[in-house]
């Protein structure tokens, strides 16, 4: 199976890319949540700020400085589709979606579970929940 998640994330630290925005030097949590909701096409209220903080921290550690900020600003300015045409930022968006869908993040010491039944993947199967639950409970 080609990619591992680790190699995938390592590939995000690549050459600098031009941007058309003046980006903020820090990604705010609310901006990250808005970006996540847009990419996942779910209501903002569906996403836990507690989980978001964990995912944001993990992605910051792996991504090139400025890339996350660029995506957040692109989302705010309704130019997300344009930003996603650039391969490295598209891969970053994919990593963000993976985190929300799997409920796990890659850390230096390995994969860590952040969310169980709240992982977005289980929304796709309305009658089911992850192992270790009785229909999600």
């Amino acid at each position: 199976m080609g990619w591992t998640r680790r190699s995938f994330l390592a590939s995000l630290a690549m050459a600098a890319l031009p941007g058309s925005f003046v980006v903020a030097s820090e990604v705010d949590l609310e901006g990250f949540l808005e970006l996540s909701a847009r990419l996942a096409a779910v209501p903002r209220a569906r996403l836990s700020p507690v989980h978001a903080a964990r995912y944001l921290e993990a992605l910051r550690a792996w991504s090139r400085p400025g890339d996350l900020e660029h995506l957040v600003e692109a989302c705010r300015h309704d130019r997300l589709e344009q930003a996603l045409r650039e391969p490295r930022r598209r891969r970053l968006a994919e990593a963000l979606l993976e985190a929300w869908y799997t409920g796990t993040v890659e850390t230096p010491s390995g994969v860590v579970r952040v969310a169980g039944g709240e992982a977005l993947a289980w929304d796709a199967i309305p009658y089911a929940g992850p192992p270790g639950t009785c229909h999600g409970r």
Binding site: E94, A119, A121, A128, G132, C134
Partner: protein, 527 residues
């Protein structure tokens, strides 16, 4: 004497025996290497685990010396040529914590494999000797099944509970099977189909392994509690490492080390019910001047004839929704492939229909693959739903053959944390079993073809729930370790209880047969 009966191991074998003997008034000492399981804490550990391995709720088991799903070479010293992937737990209640719960009897033909098919061995007892005890075991565990369908194993008593409703996938696969002239039958399960003896009914969420969140699936902690309530003494953290032998070959002492500190006990009768790896490990480690090859080992067969579970796992996408994750983890199977003239040349197999989709196809495992194909938003969710809801998976476990070269020895150069030699494994999958795996794969492919399924894949894999044969029963001391009553040929007060005594494996999961043997032994010992 410290006890009338000392039992080493608190899995289903030791728990049932201890319960029956204590209830009959015997002083029972139940020795367990591991500790008790707190279901809520174990569940929390599993839910927090990134890989959701079979033993991820039970990290404490590996600490007292047991195989870990994530590192099978840490406890086993694997000499090959094939890798042994059998798992067991050293905890109060034993391996039933993470068993699937399929409670199937062996076939009458399984007890006469040599005389019927010219391979393997014959048991020194027949299905008829064990049949009444199967019924009592089904009552004790709480087995749900169809009493009007004996599945090839005649029965004299009904199941205590009605069968579970088949899963949707069972009907879809069943229709395809019918076009091929095959039938799908309900699998009897030690999983409540209605509230039973203080435990709830199963909610049908395919969360049976590695532990049932609500206790609807049987685990042997049920009978450990009943044994203690009946007066048995349970000592945990007691890693039994030596049996002391006295005059006349009697087992005089049971010695332990471990988290609870060293200790020993004397009992009139000693029963080792420590599963198929730890039992021979203990017997071999107990060698002494009277028994230089190990306790109970005048035949040289302690540790030999190791049998394991070798399976074929197949998956495909059905053309219609089959809705996995909506039923217990295995409700139906195809049982007609277990017996026939073919067994002279290849193994039979038990085909189970998985109700929890693909092994690597759970929504949170499949999602990354879809995301990397460029899907997101509603399209991602729709693709995920459509794929998961059409996943079909079949698992066929093939029978192993007893080969004396497949064995457990002591790895003196690899002691564990307590200084006890770890088990050295020499194992090769028999050609007879490999031929069975090829036949199983062909059946899976035919079913997928009849189903019109796409994205088909097949793989051989281990079924970790099968470890058997390492202290087999027989009539002759030169070719067996215990009698048909499970008493060691060499020692008048030593009994061995569990899957280690099976002369042949059959293709049924061993747990119900182990439970039947336990209740039968209790009867033989006066309970």
């Amino acid at each position: 004497m410290d006890a009338d009966v000392a039992i080493v191991g608190s899995g289903v074998a030791g728990a049932l025996l201890g319960w029956r003997l204590a209830s009959a008034g015997a002083r029972v000492l139940l020795l367990e290497a591991g500790g008790p399981v707190d279901r809520a804490r174990a569940l929390a550990r599993f839910q927090a685990s990134p890989d959701r391995a079979l033993d991820s709720p039970y990290p404490e088991s590996a600490r007292v010396g047991a195989p870990s799903a994530g590192d099978l070479a840490r406890h086993y010293v694997q000499e090959g040529p094939d890798f042994l992937s059998g798992l067991y737990l050293r905890l109060v209640g034993g391996t039933t914590w993470h068993w699937l719960g399929t409670a199937l009897r062996m076939l009458p033909e399984d007890f006469g494999l040599r005389s019927r098919h010219g391979v393997g061995e014959d048991w020194p007892l027949g299905y008829g000797d064990l049949e009444p005890w199967y019924g009592r075991a089904e009552d004790a565990l709480g087995v749900a099944g169809d009493s009007g369908n004996d599945l090839g194993s005649p029965r004299s008593s009904p199941y205590p509970m009605p069968p579970h409703r088949p899963a949707r996938v069972d009907g879809v696969v069943g229709a395809a099977a019918a076009r091929l002239g095959w039938t799908v039958d309900p699998l009897p399960q030690a999983r409540n189909s209605r509230p039973w003896e203080g435990r709830p009914a199963c909610c049908g969420a395919a969360s049976c392994t590695p532990l049932c969140p609500i206790g609807a699936k049987y685990d042997a902690s049920v009978h450990v509690r009943r044994a203690v309530a009946a007066g048995a003494e349970l000592r945990t953290g007691a890693v039994v490492h030596r049996l002391g032998v006295g005059a006349g070959g009697r087992i005089e002492r049971v010695c332990w080390t471990g988290p609870s500190g060293p200790g020993e006990a004397r009992a009139g009768v000693v029963v080792v019910a420590a599963h198929a790896v730890e039992t021979p490990r203990l017997l071999l480690a107990s060698r002494n001047p009277r028994n230089p090859s190990g306790v109970a080992n005048s035949s040289g067969l302690v540790g030999r004839c190791l049998m394991a579970g070798n399976a074929v796992l197949s998956q495909a996408l059905a053309p219609v929704r089959v809705d996995p994750y909506g039923a217990p983890q295995a409700t139906s199977g195809m049982l007609g492939f277990r017996e026939g003239p073919f067994r002279s040349g290849r193994s039979g197999f038990l085909l189970a229909i998985a109700t929890d989709g693909w092994a690597d196809g759970a929504p949170d495992r499949l999602a990354p693959r879809l995301i990397r194909r460029g899907l997101r938003g509603k399209a991602l969710r729709a693709a995920l739903e459509e794929h998961v809801r059409r996943q079909v998976a079949l698992a066929s476990t093939c029978e192993d053959l007893p080969d004396p070269e497949n064995r457990i020895e002591l790895a003196e150069d690899h002691p564990d944390a307590f200084g006890i030699p770890r088990p050295r494994i020499r194992y090769r999958i028999p050609d007879w079993t490999r031929a069975g795996q090829a036949a199983a794969r062909a059946v899976h492919e035919q079913l997928f073809e009849a189903l019109g399924a796409q994205e088909r894949g097949h793989a051989t894999a281990a079924d970790p729930g099968y470890l058997l044969g390492t202290c087999r029963m027989g009539t002759e001391p030169a070719t067996s370790v215990v009698t048909s009553d499970l008493r060691a040929h060499d020692h008048p007060n030593l009994y061995l209880l569990g899957s280690m005594v099976f002369p042949t494996a059959g293709s049924a999961p061993p747990t119900l047969t182990v439970a039947a043997l336990a209740l039968r032994l209790a009867g033989l010992l006066g309970a």
